[in-house]
């Protein structure tokens, strides 16, 4: 089939300014836009699994409902403070720093933990609890030592 490419070039229009700007924004901010959207999906899942509304989440996080809407849109450039706030509420680690995770694991003194805590029935979640408990104990010890 013969296509008239000269006619194609005559007919073809340029993207609108809005389309160009949006494409440029996507290109320049691709990495964090994806992370923001993935975090939004984690919050959506949390709301679905817990049968919670957006306003209940806003109350629990101590932020405005408008801010929750922004978080759920997946297009917000989140601050570390906000990410940690979300982590605290949904009890999931969203931002992982590999070396930090490793050192926390090494410091974890599993032997001293009570037997019921060492029972790994819930898998990762309980393991995270152990690390958190251990960190708290160590902090208290260091405070006492001072």
């Amino acid at each position: 089939m013969a296509f008239n490419l000269n006619r194609l070039k005559e007919v073809a229009k340029q993207p609108s300014e809005k389309e160009r700007n949006e494409a440029k924004f996507r290109e320049e901010n691709r990495d964090w836009l994806l992370k923001s959207a993935l975090i939004a999906l984690e919050i959506h899942r949390y709301l679905r699994q817990n049968g919670m509304t957006q306003s209940q989440l806003a109350e629990k996080m101590g932020i405005s409902p408008a801010m929750v809407t922004k978080l759920l849109s997946g297009k917000e450039n989140l601050s570390l403070k906000t990410v940690c706030g979300i982590e605290r509420v949904i009890q999931l680690e969203l931002l992982k720093v590999p070396s930090y995770e490793k050192s926390a694991f090494l410091k974890c003194d599993l032997v001293k933990m009570p037997k019921e805590v060492l029972d790994f029935e819930d898998g990762e979640k309980k393991f995270c609890k152990i690390i958190k408990m251990n960190k708290e104990t160590e902090t208290k010890k260091s405070v006492l030592a001072v």
């Binding site: 013969a2 296509f3 609108s16 993935l38």
Partner: protein
């Protein structure tokens, strides 16, 4: 009595086409044909005349859409008249990247997890949406890279990306619509495009494919072939395809 009549040689753009009506009437074929052609007939049959006028207007109207240049000389996209943005931008700026739209789509089509192919995602619309987001995030720069390779004569180029769309168009050796996939191994994403020449494509439609066939995929089944046919007619109307080639 069901009467099937044909009104021939109605002007459709520069073409002549045949429209078929199937109507329920007690009148003979000749009478109904005369009615539709504008003769004086009883009032109760005027509805058919209105129907005829609407269809006549619809078929003689030039299709309204635009072609937008996305990557010059390499990727073009259709902008449909009922959309506020070109198809390419609709996909990358909304359908594949908007969290709310994705979740609405997967939550309203929960049966996708029942098929063998997507079963591994479990009944988890968020996981499916995350997969689309990640895929689309990589696909856009990938297309740009393929277009750059096409300019430089390097591989892989756009020819490696778009594959002929079989099925309905499988036997049409002149007009070959194509399809492109996302970059992930198991991908929901599909782009449908018309190949103008080597490494030059017009994106016609795109979406999320939930099943093995377009006909069973919500969102695609009611759009892909219909849009390709409309765009083909538009290209003829605009003189980009020679009508004698059809």
């Amino acid at each position: 009595m069901l009467t099937k009549i044909a009104i021939q040689h109605l002007p459709i753009g520069k073409e002549k086409k045949t429209i078929y009506f199937q109507i329920k009437a007690r009148k003979s074929v000749t009478n109904v044909k005369n009615l539709l052609l504008g003769k004086n007939f009883p009032v109760f049959l005027l509805q058919f005349q209105r129907l005829f006028l609407i269809l006549h207007q619809k078929f003689t109207e030039k299709l309204k859409m635009d072609i937008i240049s996305i990557i010059p000389n390499r990727i073009y996209s259709i902008k449909y008249d009922d959309e506020d943005t070109a198809e390419y931008y609709r996909l990358f700026n909304k359908e594949w990247t908007d969290v709310a739209s994705l979740l609405e789509f997967f939550r309203s089509n929960p049966e996708f997890t029942e098929n063998d192919f997507w079963g591994f995602l479990g009944n988890d619309p968020e996981k499916a949406a995350a997969r689309v987001l990640e895929d689309a995030n990589m696909l856009e720069p990938h297309l740009k890279e393929l277009a750059e390779n096409s300019d430089k004569g390097e591989l892989p180029d756009l020819e490696k990306y778009f594959k002929p769309l079989n099925g309905k168009y499988g036997y049409d050796i002149k007009f070959i619509p194509t399809k492109g996939y996302g970059v992930l191994e198991s991908t929901f994403l599909r782009l449908y495009a018309i190949r103008f020449e080597k490494n030059c494509y017009l994106i016609v439609y795109g979406g999320i494919k939930l099943n093995s066939s377009i006909q069973n995929s919500p969102g695609l089944q009611e759009n892909v072939f219909q849009k390709i046919d409309k765009v083909k007619q538009y290209l003829v109307d605009e003189g980009i395809i020679d009508k004698d080639d059809i």
